[in-house]
Amino acid sequence: MTQEIRIYLVDDEPDVTRGLSWLLESVDLKAEAHHRADPFLSSLAGHAGPACAVLDLRMPGLSGIEVMERLVARRPDVPIIFLSAHGDVPSAVRAMKLGAFDFLQKPFNPQQFLECINRARLSAVDRHAEWLKRRDYDESLSRLSVREREVLELMLEGGSSKEIGRRLDISPKTVDVHRANILRKLEVGNARELTSRFRIALKKD
């Protein structure tokens, strides 16, 4: 895992981000701290690699949950750990429903925090790779015709030309033409390569 996994700390209390940065540095992790949502969002927009974020639930301006709603649309691969100094259960429930990675109530055990960050970093790498594949797949699909997409879906399910032809009510010869076009358009050598490249994306469908 040589890839850099960026850790963002977003909390309107500088005391909290300073303390957490120091804690992370002591286990050789670097974190980028922000005290408002906007600079964090613009920094993340300029970072293409995997990342995870620690967000305070209540901040002036955009709240933690609002930030999360924006991230779900832009960077769904970034795991989010919420911090809260209030005992608000409804917000916690809502954050978890939206797909938050974890929820910690201040004051929390630092060890627990470090474990949580490590899990989030591992997850960030997987989710990032998956997200890239998914984007690649979506982008590839847009290059294919409607019929070619139907053929591709059945190919990924492992169907032969004969079976695909029968399912789509066309001749196996026509299926072969589509196959060749698909491989050319998606710039892959053969069906096995195609399957390994798009399998993860397909699972999510």
Binding site: V16, E25, A85, H86, D88
Partner: protein, 548 residues
């Protein structure tokens, strides 16, 4: 109403009756008016004066002009439809004067013919804010009354002379007088004021139906007998006296004096009733005094209700205050504890090998962490306690909550003479939340506005409370005053704890308001850059826990 000696229906009798009735009507200490189809027919001088109209300006106008709100007008309309069964209406509500100012009035009314919707109704209106000036007004009224009587006596002599000369005109005059007498007779019979007339010797010679009703006496004889026995207490003197003695005490011996008392009387069923009693000498031969009884019981009860509401309000604020204080404390302590724990753990990680060589330092660091965790547990326990003792979330109709809260604050608003404008949007969705907490927010914002305006000596203090739908299924509630406003530089710091501009203030109110609104998933802010006054705006999601 008749006269002590029943004379034949000749001119002098009609004259005298009319005099009494006119004097009662024109010089009454309370506003009296006749209405038909909810329009003013006749309005006495007191009522015109009270509401700031020119003499003769009100008759013909719709009653709507004196109600502050359309709801009041409609509500009284509905009550009047039930007159055939009750034929009695006593209530306190604000009336609006011609110049727009509000008066708190005690209003009593009845239909002269309860079963006839075309019937005239008679209303008595008392400006309660003017009660302290009542004595002065009585004296002035009495003076005026004497002048009027003098000038009318003179006029009557002239008229008599004219009558002798011109029979036709005499008859015309007589008819007019009888008509007038009838009018006042109807007034005295239907007016919701008790009236007692005594003769020159102080004997009671006449009581009106309202008086019979107040004291459950079917006729004059029963009343006279009862009055000799019935005990009542004069408020302020703590003296027990009989009703008869009270009437005597309120009968001044000379024309310029007005005697008045407030008395408490216990009805046969044991329920107490309060009356304001005022007597003036009637400057008519053979007659003594007119003593007027105004039923104050409803008003007293309203005061008692207000007192209970104030207690409830204080109790609710105490409960809410405690919870908010504890949760604010937990929040404030949570942040530094978190930072301390982070640093302590960081030290342990960084100095791992060195610490193993220094068991004493390792021990101290472990203890530091142990105590930090203990402090953290205290915070968590407080938070859990507050969460457990919070009332359950419920469906809240914000419009009803605003109305209810302003009712609770009526006393404070009235004392500070604040005019309240309500702008409640239609079709507001209900929201989920904690009623007592949201009520606390509104109480704090309104009381802050009252105090800010009072502190700045605002001449016509006004508060506007508005509730409206906002985008993304949220509701916006604003409290706006016309006080000195909040300086731009303080618009964030007023929400910090211990920030106050009030002498003796704790500086916790606005912080709690914000904590409460935020715990409902909403936001509370000061509207920036206002020319005058302060505007606090909270935005609440319909579903609690939704993002603001």
């Amino acid at each position: 109403m008749g006269l002590p000696v029943s004379p034949p229906p000749t001119d002098p009798s009609a004259q005298t009756d009319r005099l009494i009735y006119e004097q009662v009507f024109d010089n009454a200490l309370v506003g009296i008016c006749f209405m038909q189809h909810r329009r003013f027919l006749r309005v006495n001088a007191r009522m015109e004066e009270m509401l700031g109209y020119q003499p003769g300006e009100m008759p013909g106008q719709s009653v709507r002009v004196v109600y502050a709100r359309q709801e009041d007008f409609d509500e009284v309309g509905r009550v009047m439809e039930s007159f055939p069964t009750t034929n009695r209406y006593v209530h306190e509500r604000p009336l609006v004067a011609k110049d727009g100012s509000l008066l708190w009035c005690l209003i009593a009314g009845r239909m002269i013919e309860p079963h006839d919707p075309d019937s005239t109704s008679v209303w008595v209106v008392q400006d309660m804010s003017a009660k302290k000036q009542a004595e002065d007004q009585l004296a002035r009224a009495n003076q005026r009354l004497e002048q009027i009587v003098e000038s009318r006596t003179l006029n009557l002599q002239k008229t008599n002379a004219a009558l002798k000369l011109e029979v036709e005109r005499r008859r015309e005059s007589e008819r007019a007088m009888i008509e007038s007498r009838e009018k006042y007779r109807v007034l005295i019979r239907n007016i919701p004021l008790g009236i007692v007339i005594t003769d020159a010797a102080g004997e009671i010679v006449e009581i009106n139906p309202a008086m019979q009703g107040f004291f459950a006496s079917s006729d004059l004889a029963t009343f006279t007998a009862m009055a000799r026995e019935a005990e009542c207490t004069v408020v302020g003197e703590d003296a027990v006296t009989t009703l008869r003695e009270l009437i005597a005490a309120c009968s001044p011996s000379v024309t310029r004096r007005v005697e008045h008392r407030t008395a408490k009387w216990e009805a046969a069923d044991g329920s107490p009733r309060w009356f304001d009693v005022a007597g003036v000498r009637v400057p008519v031969r053979d007659l003594g005094c007119a003593i007027v009884f105004l039923d104050r019981t409803e008003q007293r009860r309203a005061r008692a209700r207000e007192h209970t509401q104030q207690q409830q309000l204080a109790h609710a604020s105490r409960l809410s205050l405690m919870g908010q204080f504890a949760s604010a404390l937990a929040h404030e302590l949570g942040q530094p504890l978190n930072a301390c724990l982070s640093y302590a753990a960081g030290i342990e990680h960084r100095l791992g090998p060195e610490l193993r060589k220094r068991p004493d330092a390792q021990e101290a660091l472990s203890r530091i962490q142990l105590h930090l965790h203990q402090a953290g547990d205290v915070v968590k326990n407080v938070r859990a306690f507050v969460a457990k003792h919070r009332p359950e979330d419920e469906e809240i109709d914000l419009a009803a909550l605003v109305h209810g809260t302003l009712d609770l604050l009526q006393l404070q608003l009235r004392e500070a003479a604040v005019t309240v404008r309500l702008r409640i949007g239609e079709d507001l969705p209900r929201l989920r939340g904690t009623r007592v907490e949201l009520q606390q927010v509104l109480v704090n914002l309104v009381v802050n506005a009252i105090e800010a305006m009072r502190g700045a000596g605002v001449a016509r203090p006004q508060i506007e409370v508005s509730v409206a739908r906002a985008a993304r299924s949220r509701i916006r509630m604003s409290v706006i005053d016309n006080g000195p406003g909040v300086p731009e530089a303080l618009s964030e710091s007023v929400f910090q704890p211990y920030t106050t501009t009030k002498p003796g203030g704790l500086g916790m109110g606005l912080m709690m308001c914000r904590t409460i609104i935020e715990s409902h998933g909403g936001s509370l802010q000061i509207e920036p850059r206002r020319k005058r006054g302060a505007a606090f705006r909270c935005v609440l999601p319909v579903e609690k826990g939704d993002p603001p």
